[in-house]
Amino acid sequence: MKKKIEPWLFLFPVLLILLLLFGYPLINSVIMAFQNYKLTAPNDIYFNGIENFKKLAGDPDSLMILKNSFIYVFVSVIGQFLLGLILALALKKRFRGRGLYQSVVFLPWAFSGFVVGLIFRWSFNGEYGVVNNLLAMLGLTDTNIAWLGTPGFSLAVVIIAMIWMGIPFFAIMILAALQSIPSDVYEAADVDGCGTMRQFFQITLPYIKPTLITTTLLRTIWIFNSLDLVVIITDGGPANTSQTLPAYMYSKAFGSYDFGFAAALGVLLMVILGVYALLFLKVTKYDKAGDF
């Protein structure tokens, strides 16, 4: 029995920190979700049952925001995945200046979300933005498009920014996986007369599948959770049409100071992501992904 205590003893400091910095806020926010907790009325905090969730269900914008979140996550992940894969495949072969090229295209990942947000906000500005300017020069439009002032477009701008920012992460991960595939497998396939397409689908993809799964899983959760780009580029506007769940949560917590309602949104977010993670792992049979 004594031996079993030892590892816990070593883990204790980390567990303590986790408990304090992660466990406590987590539990507290779940509690808050069932409270009337408004910073504007700090003396009037009490449990109000499922009132916050009722409000959430009755909020006419809830459904739209949920839909926005799914569109935002789905399109961003697919876009990043495809473009990242293409980039990784392009970088796999050696060519002159590859190192320089690689460091340039990986740059967006090094930018902070705040900077990326500002770049896109200004690029898509309806009056001074470079995008409208380019479109006009190409003769595609003669009026200024109010990208951030039009429902639909505003969310699209956030998605484009998110894709641009996230491509390098996919590319880095996939490239590393590609480089770990032994070259003799390809040589053998060549000898057997296997074409490029078949090589890609039957050798490359299976080899990098574990990486793809982990990366996609991680990115989906990260993107779902991220609010910086939404808040900086559109702040959810106009009329909440580019709002996503975490950005809405942020605006409820730090705009309206309704911590109870924001916590309810947080719980919803946690449930969605929890279910997603379980389903994803099950569907992709994560345990067996590495076996061939």
Binding site: T40, G126, N144, P238, S251
Partner: protein, 456 residues
């Protein structure tokens, strides 16, 4: 075991926080009180909103004051966040400095606790020097609420419409004045100034946070300034108000303002006006500071707020950030009053007002380049003496931060984007405000609906 350790750790942290929290606000106050009894008079002055700029201003004025009167003034300060607490502690222990900068909201507490001195005599003697708004709004209100006048405001934040003088001159537009300067005339001006080929829009439209603030001021011109009836029902959703809201938004829908402005808040409005994209902006006098910094004096001017088509009243604001008052604990009340009089002397008051884009409280601004007759601020000064000047109440005495941060502008944006009707906007907002107002009236027995303050 783990639990107990955790509890101990938490307790230790909390104790630490408490100690740190209590330690700070108590120092820096009682250094100079002993010298007071000698021949030389030393006054203590406390600023509740200190900044390096303000400290420099006050110390400069105090130096001049000492040169002229021989009275030394010591500048003390307390950060705004701690100010209410600290003044309460000082007041309760009879140690308030001679002259205090206060927030209008604190006067109730201070007068009830009998910590400050009335200045009725001074008001009687010097009242004529001040703009009408000080006498008919600030002092009338203090007298009504507390029986006496206790404080002198430091300056005024007034609304006006900033416009591109050069654009108006270029198109040779004649802006109506007096009774003809209505909101309709304002919308016409916006339309006339718009020239999209030249990348000129008529107005810095406010579509995001705070979008409802200028709009409600406009709607109030239809109700004499009232927002609620006596029972607490929201009354700004009448057919005239719906029509007014439609007119207000027409300038957006018809393209006289940038389409992006549906997302504009204060910063974007001001930046796009000073940057040369828009021709007018309706806002507080503080915007003048940004105009001065970024624009040529020939480019901009100020128009008064438009008047009501119904009763000719001009809905405006007349907020004073702070006011000066004398502590009852002061051993030298006469010198303290002299100091306040010195602080609001036109030259010193003008210097003060320039720091924050405020409007001076005295009429005699001389030929000052900015506040004088030909200066851009002269309009604000005139507004404060206009008999039609009216300060309507805002949304209500309850907390509406959450609505201001979210619902007000989201509802308006939905109309701007064609997702709901103008009537819906006012009904949705009205229902919410009515609920809160009625709750407030029920919770506060004897509370009444605030009336608009007029100069009559």
């Amino acid at each position: 075991m783990k639990k107990r350790f955790l509890a101990a750790l938490l307790a230790a942290t909390m104790a630490g926080c408490l100690l740190a929290g209590c330690g700070s606000p108590k120092d820096s106050s009682s250094d100079d009180s002993k010298e007071g009894s000698s021949q030389e008079v030393t006054l203590r002055f406390i600023d509740v909103s200190p900044s390096p700029e303000r400290q420099k201003y006050y110390e400069g004025v105090f130096e001049k004051f000492e040169e002229e009167t021989g009275v030394t003034v010591n500048y003390e300060s307390v950060p705004w966040d701690d100010a209410a607490d600290k003044l309460t502690v000082l007041g309760a222990s009879g140690q308030l400095p001679d002259v205090i900068t206060t927030h209008p909201l604190w006067l109730g507490q201070f007068t009830e606790a009998d910590w400050i001195l009335p200045i009725d005599e001074y008001v009687e003697e010097h009242g004529d020097e001040f703009v009408e708004a000080v006498k008919k709004i600030n002092w009338a209100q203090e007298k009504e609420r507390y029986g006496h006048v206790y404080s002198i405001p430091d300056g005024f934040m007034v609304k006006g419409i900033f416009y591109r003088k050069d654009w108006v001159e270029e198109i040779g537009y004649k802006i109506p004045t007096g009774k003809d300067w209505t909101y309709d005339a304002y919308f016409d001006l916006i339309k006339a100034l718009t020239d999209k080929d030249k990348k000129q829009y008529g107005n810095s439209f406010r579509g995001a946070r705070g979008a409802f603030d200028p709009l409600i001021t406009y709607l109030q011109t239809y109700s004499g300034g009232y927002v609620y009836d006596e029972e607490g029902n929201f009354i700004l959703n009448t057919p005239e108000c719906v029509e007014a809201l439609e007119k207000w938004c027409e300038i957006y829908k018809d393209g006289y303002v940038p389409q992006d402005s549906v997302n504009w808040g204060f910063v974007e409005m001001v930046d796009n006006f000073t940057g040369g994209l828009t021709g007018t902006i309706s806002n507080d006098s503080e915007v003048a500071k940004a105009c001065e910094e970024k624009m040529d004096p020939s480019q901009w001017g100020v128009l008064p707020m438009p008047v009501s088509t119904i009763d000719g009243k001009m809905m405006n604001t007349a907020g004073s950030p702070y006011s000066y008052t004398i502590s009852k604990a002061s051993e030298h009340p006469e010198e303290a009053l002299a100091l306040i009089d010195f602080l609001v002397r036109p030259d010193n008051n003008i210097e003060y007002c320039k720091m924050g884009g405020l409007i001076p409280i005295k009429n005699d601004v001389g030929d000052d380049a900015i506040y004088g007759e030909d200066g851009p601020y002269a309009v604000f000064q005139a507004e404060l003496n206009d008999p039609n000047f009216t300060v309507p109440p805002m949304y209500g005495p309850f907390n509406y931060t959450d609505l201001h941060q979210d619902m007000f502008h989201t509802e308006l944006q939905k109309y701007l984007l064609g997702q709901q009707s103008a009537e819906d906007v006012l009904n949705h907002i009205g229902t919410e405000l009515t609920t809160r107002m009625k709750q407030y009236l029920a919770d506060n027995e004897g509370a009444e609906i605030e009336t608009p303050k007029t100069m009559q």
